[in-house]
Point group: C2
Chain length 401, copies 2
């Protein structure tokens, strides 16, 4: 009998009624001859509520205890879903991360899955049970509860599917993966297929539909991933290895991300000790910096810019205070109203000139860009947020997204 | 260094501010030279809220899943308290039931503690950590999460104290144990001491300050228990083995319990098969019956009365429907407005005449009673709820409570 792992996100399980709908979907698939595993997220805004309680206690609460706190969200959903299935007359069992054998590293709040002891899940499946697993969590070598980071339930689902050697279906509140955000560009097309590689670039750039690590794991273990609306009524998007059945486009997707701010540190003394100390502190404070640029030295000083998540703002303020102790000549400018626009496509490997076509769009539309970075299949630009819509429409039209 | 186990109930940890107050109390005791373990309940009405979610799904939800659901309440509190202690600069660690080594039977929603693997708690104490344990929960031989039943956090605390060979302090929202409910009889006196035995009778009869099993365990392992207000500012009540320092009173306490209803099944055919079938069904439906009485047979029929918890009402209705299938002549009367009054005292062992003195009070005050049961140190009466206040005042005055 075939096995299917499904994952239901927070909005799909936000109320008891929605949990009942999920139960019905699981029963339907079970009755058509599949062994079912469902991974669930916390209900609606539960995780945010728990985090805000922790923040009443501390701006930077103990990560071990934070994991113990927020992991309860998924535990609640999984027990309610199994309860619902039993009430509907179907055998089911809910498992926390540790009960499902999900072993992780001890990097609290962003622990990687190291392995899954899958025997318990297999045993329950062989008993005909619908197995519900609390997503987003695991247990480390000390027996402490860990969480996998935001969106970690996707990773739980794909990891289970890898271990069970079966496909993974991710149900969410969007119809699938779009070439760009339909909220910004209404003519955006839903993709029927996307390669793991392209999806990884898009996920990490803010497509927000599926977590990057989940796609990475899917690629590593060749797990077919399907993303669709949680009512299962319209065709979603398949994420899989690129093959000949998939049309090669220059650009598959276009993403915009408003979550970062841009820090510019002007007048930094141009010597390696000083420049190194900036990036060393950024790393030790766990600030996740992204695009970095540096001007050529003028009068023995350079300007350094980087982007970082807006919710790291208090850490950045602390960093600046510390830097000023040893470099009192620096002047810092923090810009919050920036957007990172990225284009992604396997076709960029073989077709050049994408950057030039985009620079022309920017010039024609009077859009100023602050930074550019490139990878093999991606180009990213930092622009002012006010120009976002103009940039997206221009690029989407040019590349027929 | 001495160890103290403290327990803080739901009202003591109902808000983040209250959790901060608890943290300060723990730090104070730690700094005066004690190793501290704190057992916590769920915040405020959290458990009720979780149960009502389960009841949206089912009137009788799967107990295994219910345990998994409601155990999250204590997990949340314990992580928040440890987080607070760390924020205040004190080393601390939060443990769920399974992490604290609390092994239980598999009777979900009312599992007994079988043993505690105390090594982990001892190790953390030896590292100078304030150890916070999620009360009310454990893990069974299958690795499933269990709960100990309402008030189970008291049992967790006393069991830990027994294993650590140390005293147990239970902090709550009342000043200690009263001879009777001061809400009904304002002149009731707070007791400085009460014996385990008397407290067990009082707890099971609805004194609601501490759970019976906790007192039973305290008695078995000779754990001194102290019950007091959570601000620690006024003297509470010690529960310990009876000794000469404690004055022998005829009656130590008087309790009133409105949680039961009384079922009278009239016109039951007087043969053992029928009577047995009633009690067999009650037992298989897990209805917790208490006071039982039966009239002498008249014309080959008897009337049987028993009390049971009001929240078993839907089970009782189902029972009656089933009984009518085989005994269509029965007539059933269910009375919800009854109160069980009980007097408890070690002195009753040696002094007789307590029942007679109470019957006189009832007669003088025109109080009708429906049932009487006695044990070595307790007498209980079922009366109409409307007579409760009159009965309590009368008895309290007569025995100087």
């Amino acid at each position: 009998m075939s096995i299917i792992v499904q994952k239901y996100g927070g909005t799909s399980v936000a109320t008891i009624d929605k949990i009942k709908s999920v139960a019905k979907l699981l029963i339907k698939r079970k009755e058509s001859g599949n062994n079912m595993v469902a991974v669930v997220s916390a209900m609606g805004k539960t995780t945010d509520k728990l985090i805000s309680m922790a923040n009443e206690i501390s701006k930077d609460p103990s990560k071990r205890e934070l994991d113990m706190l927020i992991s309860t969200g998924e535990q609640v959903t999984s027990s309610l879903l199994a309860m619902t299935l039993k009430e509907m007359g179907h055998n089911s069992i809910a498992l926390t991360g540790f009960q499902a054998g999900i072993m992780t590293g001890n990097q609290h709040t962003k622990a990687p899955i190291l392995d899954i002891d899958i025997e318990k899940v297999k045993k329950y499946l062989s008993q005909g049970k619908i197995v519900i697993v609390a997503g987003f969590q695991g247990i480390d070598e000390y027996g402490d509860i860990t969480t996998l980071g935001r969106g970690g339930s996707d990773t739980t689902a794909v990891a289970l599917a890898a271990k069970l050697n079966c496909p993974c279906e991710i149900y969410t509140d969007v119809k699938g993966i779009y070439s760009t955000d339909p909220g910004i560009y209404p003519d955006a097309k839903k993709l029927d297929y996307i390669s793991y590689e392209e999806m990884m670039e898009m996920a990490s750039l803010g497509a927000k539909v599926i977590e990057t690590r989940a796609v990475e794991m899917g690629r590593k273990y060749n797990v077919p991933i399907y993303i669709a609306l949680n009512n299962g009524e319209c065709l979603g998007t398949y994420i899989k290895e690129f093959d000949e059945s998939m049309e090669t486009k220059v650009i598959t997707g276009l993403t915009a991300n408003d979550d970062d701010l841009m820090v510019t540190i002007n007048n930094v003394p141009y010597n390696m000790k000083h420049i190194y100390s900036i990036f060393d502190k950024l790393s030790s404070m766990d600030i996740n910096i992204d695009m970095i640029s540096q001007t050529a030295p003028v009068n023995g000083h350079v300007n350094i810019s980087f982007t970082a998540p807006k919710d790291n703002r208090y850490l950045i303020d602390r960093l600046i205070d510390e830097l000023k102790l040893t470099m009192n000549e620096i002047k810092v400018d923090i810009q919050e109203d920036i957007t990172k626009i990225s284009v992604v496509g396997l076709g960029m490997r073989t077709q050049s000139g994408v950057a030039a076509r985009i620079f022309k769009i920017f010039a024609d539309n009077n859009i100023e860009f602050k930074q550019v970075t490139t990878s093999e299949i991606r180009i990213s630009y930092t622009i002012n947020t006010k120009d976002k819509k103009k940039a997206i429409s221009g690029i989407a039209k040019e590349f027929n997204l």
